[in-house]
């Protein structure tokens, strides 16, 4: 037992649920999980949402979020079962022996206090360091994590640094008290892909240099493969597979693990452009009211019938704004939108019913894009009534057809959105868009909020529907893996401009411009040692320049 820093035996965790219309009752969300972490090792906890990975991570600090209670099993940290120890001892454990890095550093820092005070607070209060020592240590960590102005950044307030920087500050916060174990809970999920790689490297180096052990929680197997020694695969609170990172990535045993490893393996043949594009965006420039800079600068792209144009870029690149201009929500200050053989009016009020019908949208957040008090049948039936005047049996028949197309079926017609899973909600939104028989659908980050396997299913469905309905997609995303899976042509956006545009194979083959190169090389690959390779390459390149 002495080698094992953390030893979890048959951990069971329960929660009280409050389903609408039923009595509150207790359910079990983690069903007997066991694992061990040795000193200085990193264990990756991986699974989709609802797998219980965060819950297990917090249990190693004897903490239950909300109504979550640890109902059984043992959690040994440094040779004692922390589920049976005193309240005072648990407090000494938290922030002393075991620390936590959350997904959203922006929410996890107190907005009213300086970063330095928060980073050093636990180390000082736990009596590990004097306040002078702790500040020195924090500055040292800021430097190690590659933060700008390590001497003074601690004097700033959380809103005064960027998201990626704040995530690194959170890592410094966790490492400051010299803990034995750090729980990283999706520390890079909320970041842009080019920021993620820097933070990932900073975390990896910090773990290596300090010799701290870690639990690394994520839904992204490609990420966890870069930082872990061992991996535990979880599904719905059950252990699926537990092994070394090499074994899980290169020789997975369970079907579920195999599916996770092979996710994003959709093959899509690029189609040739047709003579007449369905959408032609010409010289579009746009800005928001009350601002003095253009968010879109002279954009030119085309989309051909039955094909997919992927618009890819990081947050703030202007990709969603482009969709707002095309749909008429934000009138452009210059340029024109040519759609299905006609010029579209700048603003929404000037558009005809057919313009609206032929151009549909699907959104990132399926649950807020549907009225929670309407059934699936009503939601899909609404465009049928509005655009085609369908009623009664005819409408019912068409709704069922659409439900079959999205592989859900008649049984769902009377369900409410709250009764559907995330993937099913997005499917209903797709059916609603299809109901209008559009020529083109704008898909705005439609898979970003979904688990990888579910997202894969949605992408496959979209591709199948494209074949049947001959609909064109303008696919907005920050995820290059999705782009590879679905696009015929690609537009890369950066700070309001299209920096690279063309057929998929052209855009994705060298020579690259600097930004596309950075973007492409930042997407984690399901390969051991990928992170080191990329960083080494970048160092070589910058040395060569």
């Amino acid at each position: 037992m002495s080698d094992n820093l953390l030893k979890v035996r048959d951990l069971k965790i329960g929660a009280t649920v409050y389903p609408p219309g039923e009595k509150p009752h207790d359910i079990e969300i983690v069903h007997g999980v066991s694992f061990e972490v040795e000193k200085g090792k990193v264990l990756g906890l991986i699974g989709e949402s609802g797998a219980g990975k965060s819950t297990i991570g917090l249990a190693s600090m004897a903490y239950g979020r909300g109504g979550v209670k640890i109902t059984g099993g043992e959690v040994w940290v440094n040779g004692r079962d922390i589920l049976k120890t005193s309240h005072t001892d648990v407090r000494a454990l938290r922030g002393g022996e075991v620390t936590y890095v959350s997904q959203s550093a922006a929410a996890s820092f107190n907005p009213a206090k300086k970063i330095m005070d928060q980073v050093t607070e636990a180390a000082i209060l736990q009596g590990k360091f004097s306040s002078k020592e702790a500040v020195g240590r924090a500055i040292e960590l800021f430097r190690k994590l590659g933060l700008p102005d390590p001497e003074t950044i601690g004097n700033r307030y959380p809103h005064q640094v960027s998201g990626g920087q704040l995530q690194r500050c959170m890592t410094a916060l966790a490492l400051c008290p010299e803990p034995d174990l750090v729980v990283f809970d999706e520390p890079t999920t909320a970041l842009d892909v080019t920021t993620q790689i820097d933070v990932l490297m900073a975390i990896k180096e910090a773990i290596r240099d300090t010799g701290v052990a870690a639990l690394y929680i994520t839904h992204d197997l490609a990420v966890v493969a870069q930082v872990s020694d061992d991996i535990l695969v979880l599904k719905m609170g059950d252990m699926v597979e537990y092994g070394t990172v090499n074994q899980i990535i290169n020789d997975p045993q369970e079907d579920y693990t195999k599916a996770l490893v092979s996710v994003r393996s959709i093959e899509h043949e690029e189609k040739e452009p047709t003579p007449e594009p369905v959408l032609k965006v010409q010289n579009i420039t746009a800005r928001y009211k009350g601002t003095n800079f253009d968010v879109l600068k002279n954009i030119n792209v085309e989309l051909h019938p039955g094909q997919t144009l992927a618009v890819v870029g990081e947050s703030g690149s202007g990709k969603s704004t482009l969709a707002r201009v095309i749909t008429g929500l934000l009138p452009q200050s210059n340029g024109s939108v040519h759609f299905a053989g006609r010029d579209l009016s700048k603003d929404l009020a000037g558009r005809k019913k057919d313009d609206l019908r032929e151009l549909q949208m699907i959104y990132q957040m399926a649950d807020v894009a549907m009225n929670p008090r309407q059934t699936v049948g009503t939601i899909i039936g609404r465009p049928l009534e509005f655009y085609f005047g369908l009623k009664g049996a005819e409408k019912h028949k068409r709704i069922i057809e659409l439900l079959d197309e999205i592989e859900m079926g008649e049984a769902f017609i009377d369900r409410y959105p709250a009764e559907l899973s995330g993937g099913q909600k997005q499917r209903v939104c797709i059916a609603r868009a299809l109901a209008a028989k559009p020529k083109m659908i704008i898909c705005d980050e439609v898979t970003s909020a979904l688990d990888p396997l579910v997202a894969d299913g949605i992408l496959k469905l979209l591709l199948d529907l494209q074949k049947i309905e001959d609909v064109a997609y303008l696919f907005i995303t920050h995820d290059l893996a999705t782009v590879k899976a679905i696009a015929d042509s690609i537009a890369v956006m950066y700070q309001g401009e299209v920096v690279r545009y063309g057929g998929k194979s052209d855009v994705l083959s060298p020579p690259f411009d600097d930004y596309t190169d950075l973007l492409l090389s930042s997407v984690p690959e399901m390969k051991l040692g990928w992170l080191e390779d990329v960083i080494a390459n970048r160092k070589m390149e910058s040395a060569g320049n």
Binding site: R94, S102, A107, A112, L173
Partner: protein
């Protein structure tokens, strides 16, 4: 810093504008009141000639707009006018009584505000347990009973039975601070009971709201004590809603003490106002109304300014 300064300037300008509008309202309100000042000064037996002379002397025959601007001009120079009934300068008579009212309000605030916030913190620390329920029950009960009833019960118990403090609270300059405080101890206690519940419940609700935040979880996972978390991490982020309700209650302590002053025959603004309303002494009523409005607007303005300054995003821009 410029954005902060701009917001503060806007808020102060808004406060002044509001005060100006209120002065119009007060003036208009007193004009449409029924009754005749001249009549109430001279009594029922006055002759029509005497009444007409009186009206002319008081300037009551001039058009209302002119009278308003005369009044406003005087106000801006610190001249509140003369009382119709006594012929005394209003500013002089009010000055002393306003001081008394502020004296009472100040000591009630000194005790009630920290007490309310402390009770709020305790209620959060032990939420849904007996200390929380006890605090809630007692403060709610005290706010539910009319204040004059509490006042008379307090007089009966503390003053008549126990003989700890006087029931008539006349204070004067020759008294020392200790004697004054002893004299007004019952009204202070009653006022505290009246304003405590509101402030305590708001503190509790505002902090509980903040306790849902992710950074409170971070603090818990640092192994901090619950009271440290509430004090150091939750309270600084609840300042805005708490200060608003604190200021509302402080305004009530100044403006709303009429009942308490009458019950305890305390020589403050409230009693002065009530006396002169019954005598239809319009200039006094106007002056008192305006001072009450100024206190109310001023305290609320302070609350808004503190809320603005408490926002770290405004205090420390990017």
């Amino acid at each position: 810093m410029s954005l902060l300064l701009k917001l503060l300037t806007q808020r102060i300008a808004l406060g002044l504008l509001l005060l100006f509008l209120v002065s119009i309202l007060i003036f208009a309100g007193t004009i449409i009141l029924p009754g005749d000042v001249a009549q109430s000064i001279l009594g029922q037996s006055a002759t029509p000639e005497a009444l007409a002379n009186m009206r002319r002397d008081l300037g009551l025959n001039e058009p209302p707009v002119q009278r308003y601007f005369n009044w406003l001009g005087g106000l801006l120079q610190g001249d509140l006018g003369t009382a119709l009934t006594s012929g005394k300068d209003i500013a002089e008579s009010i000055g002393k009584r306003l001081g008394n009212t502020l004296f009472l309000a100040f000591w009630a605030a000194i005790i009630s505000v920290p007490l309310a916030i402390l009770l709020g913190l305790i209620a959060v620390r032990y939420r849904e347990r007996w200390p929380d329920k006890l605090i809630s029950a007692v403060t709610l009960a005290s706010i539910s009973v009319p204040e004059f009833l509490i006042a008379y019960v307090a007089i009966f118990v503390v003053s008549v039975r126990l003989r700890w403090a006087p029931s008539v609270t006349t204070i004067n300059d020759s008294m020392s601070l200790g004697e004054k405080l002893h004299t007004i101890s019952i009204p202070i206690a009653v006022l505290t009971l009246v304003v405590l519940a509101h402030m305590m419940r708001m503190t509790r609700a505002a902090i509980l709201n903040v306790m849902q935040s992710a950074y409170i979880e971070t603090a818990e996972l640092k192994g901090l004590r619950m009271f440290t978390i509430i004090w150091k991490h939750a309270l600084p982020n609840s300042v805005a809603p708490v200060i608003n309700v604190v200021m509302l209650n402080m305004a009530y302590l100044v403006v709303g003490v009429v009942v308490i002053e009458v019950v305890f025959t305390y020589p403050g603004m409230g009693q002065y106002l009530v006396d002169h309303v019954s005598k239809r002494d319009i200039p006094v009523v106007q002056a008192c109304g305006l001072i009450f409005a100024a206190v109310y607007i001023g305290l609320n303005m302070v609350a808004d300014i503190v809320s603005i300054i408490a926002n770290p995003r405004l205090r420390h821009p990017k």
